[in-house]
């Protein structure tokens, strides 16, 4: 079953021709409309006319998250704001988010790609999609929402949280497709079990789970406990949001929608492009986006490309499960967290270089973040009240910056291990 048979199953040759045409248009658009790109290209002696084949792509410079930050908020937009109909944002490392914009066409493309993803999971207009991704600046909620409407399915825009109500709606509305983070789905499964809910009696047929890394072990658990087919979806706000790539029922990786995005895998240390099948950092170039085109965006996600033909008939290559990051970003409950964000908060509170550690754990399928902070002399007070007050102020500030709650634990100086060179800021104890 395909939503857009023409594009999803086009021959590699046709696809490459389409990609080149769209890439050239994109290069021209950013050259004309985005000073940042024009300057970068000029520095490297590249003009839009230099891009004659898809191989020429690798002559172009990378775009990094830092470039997005440097051009905050709208500096990389390629259209006037009057043509931008929506913005989304991901959490930023210093409190400033990464802002992305969409034209009406971009929103349309996104809805199409989500509809494609849903159909890939077997959805039709007769389905009831319970969308438990968060709504708001985060791309998950609204992204899935508009795509499910595009498909004509019935959307339940419940957003994240309030598990009891989620489970009630699931039963009462006859939810057939569940969309949320995999860890939250497992949490729902276990809460349901406790309530004596028999998922085998519910009409759930598929779950579209993304926004955080997960494993085959979690897939087995999800499929067993919720009695559905669990599929992986990939996306990032910088590129679009969910629906950049979607797993098909063959479960051999996620088809990256190559008529809109060109993937490359690079060695994260050297920037060198790696041959198909080798593991490295995923780099994506958008070739249809109007408001916020990105050229060779370094996603920092570690994966590999599988170009082997797929039994589902889709001709787009697949990216394998994301196995890690080439930077220190953590994904906690679907939220991107950088240790540097915590550091910026700690710097606000004290004048010295803070020593801290982020400890992440998963209990009952929920992620917990603990932030250990060494109590420096100037932070120390001989009254419990003041130290607890410090903990609370840190907790509140960190929550407002990260968007998730964390437990702050004050520890004695020199108890956080020092390492030579790059400080170790994260201990991830999660068994995914």
């Amino acid at each position: 079953m395909y939503w857009d048979r023409e594009h999803e199953t086009m021959s590699r040759e046709q696809l490459r021709a389409l990609q080149l045409e769209r890439l050239q248009l994109t290069i021209e658009r950013v050259y004309r409309n985005v000073p940042f790109y024009r300057q970068r290209f000029t520095e490297m002696g590249i003009k839009p006319s230099s891009i004659r084949s898809l191989e020429d792509l690798r002559r172009l410079p990378f775009t990094t998250k830092q470039d997005l930050r440097d051009n905050y908020p709208f500096g990389l937009f390629a259209v006037p704001m009057s043509d931008v109909v929506r913005v989304h944002a991901s959490s930023g490392t210093t409190g400033k988010p990464t802002v992305v914009g969409y034209t009406r066409n971009d929103i349309n493309t996104w809805a199409e790609l989500i509809a494609r993803s849903l159909v890939c999971a077997g959805a039709t207009k007769f389905d009831v999609v319970q969308n438990a991704y968060g709504y708001g600046l985060f791309t998950g909620g609204l992204g899935l929402h508009f795509g499910a409407e595009r498909l004509g399915a019935t959307v339940v825009p419940v957003s994240g949280g309030n598990t009891q109500r989620q489970l009630m709606l699931m039963q009462d509305f006859g939810t057939t497709i569940l969309t949320c983070t995999p860890s939250y789905a497992l949490y729902m499964a276990e809460e349901g079990q406790k309530m004596g809910l028999d998922f085998k009696k519910l009409p759930l047929k598929a779950g579209i789970f993304g926004a955080e890394p997960w494993s085959e072990r979690m897939r087995r658990q999800l499929e067993e406990k919720l009695d559905l087919m669990a599929l992986d979806i990939y996306g990032l706000s910088e590129i679009m949001g969910p629906g950049v790539a979607m797993e098909c029922p063959a479960k051999q990786g996620m088809h990256i929608f190559e008529d809109h995005f060109i993937p490359e895998i690079i060695n994260p240390d050297t920037g060198e492009v790696l041959p198909p099948g080798e593991e490295g950092e995923l780099v994506i170039t958008t070739i249809t986006k109007e408001a916020f085109p990105l050229i060779r965006y370094r996603t920092r996600d570690i994966t590999r490309i599988d170009p082997e033909p797929c039994s589902c008939g889709r001709t787009h290559v697949r990216i394998k499960r994301i196995t890690g990051r080439s930077d220190d970003m953590l994904i906690i409950r679907g939220v991107n967290v950088f240790p540097s964000q915590v550091e910026s908060v700690l710097l606000e509170f004290g004048e010295t270089e803070p020593h801290y550690l982020l400890v992440v754990d998963r209990k009952a399928n929920l992620d917990y973040l603990e932030i250990w902070v060494e109590v420096a002399e100037h932070m120390f007070s001989d009254t419990v009240r003041k130290l607890e007050d410090l903990e609370q102020r840190l907790r509140e500030r960190i929550e407002s910056i990260l968007g998730i709650s964390a437990r702050v634990k004050l520890v004695e100086p020199n108890t956080i291990p020092r390492s030579e060179g790059k400080a170790k800021r994260v201990v991830d104890r999660r068994q995914i």
Binding site: V375, A376, E377, F380, D382, T383, E388, L410, P413
Partner: protein, 143 residues
Amino acid sequence: MKVKQISIFLENKSGRLAQVTRVLGDNGINIRALAIADTTDFGILRLIVNDPDRAYRVLKEAGFTVSATDVIAVEVVDEPGGLAMVLAVLQEANLNIEYLYAFLQKASKAALVVFRVEQLDDAIAALQAKGIRILSGEEVYAL
């Protein structure tokens, strides 16, 4: 009229208190009074010692988070109602007590209560006005 108290931040894990006392012992510092305030994760150890400046230094050198705070040591008659009278004076003067702890003097009929209040000078004035004896640092360290 002020007594220097040494406070130490301690995580709630075994052996930490022992380590503090060992450092002090090895440096020939004698503990006069001690109190611990604790929460789930951490505790604050408060000490009155015979040589607070040196105690501060050696503990800091041993890697502890230490602070020195001024407190007052008040002599309280060691009989029913003794503490109540002192507290009444502070209450009348509208002075808030952050914390207090007590210790007994050797061979004496009086108890000593250590007070930590925000307005230390006001507390001293209020107590002295009622004829309550406040010990000097030197007196306390030498006990």
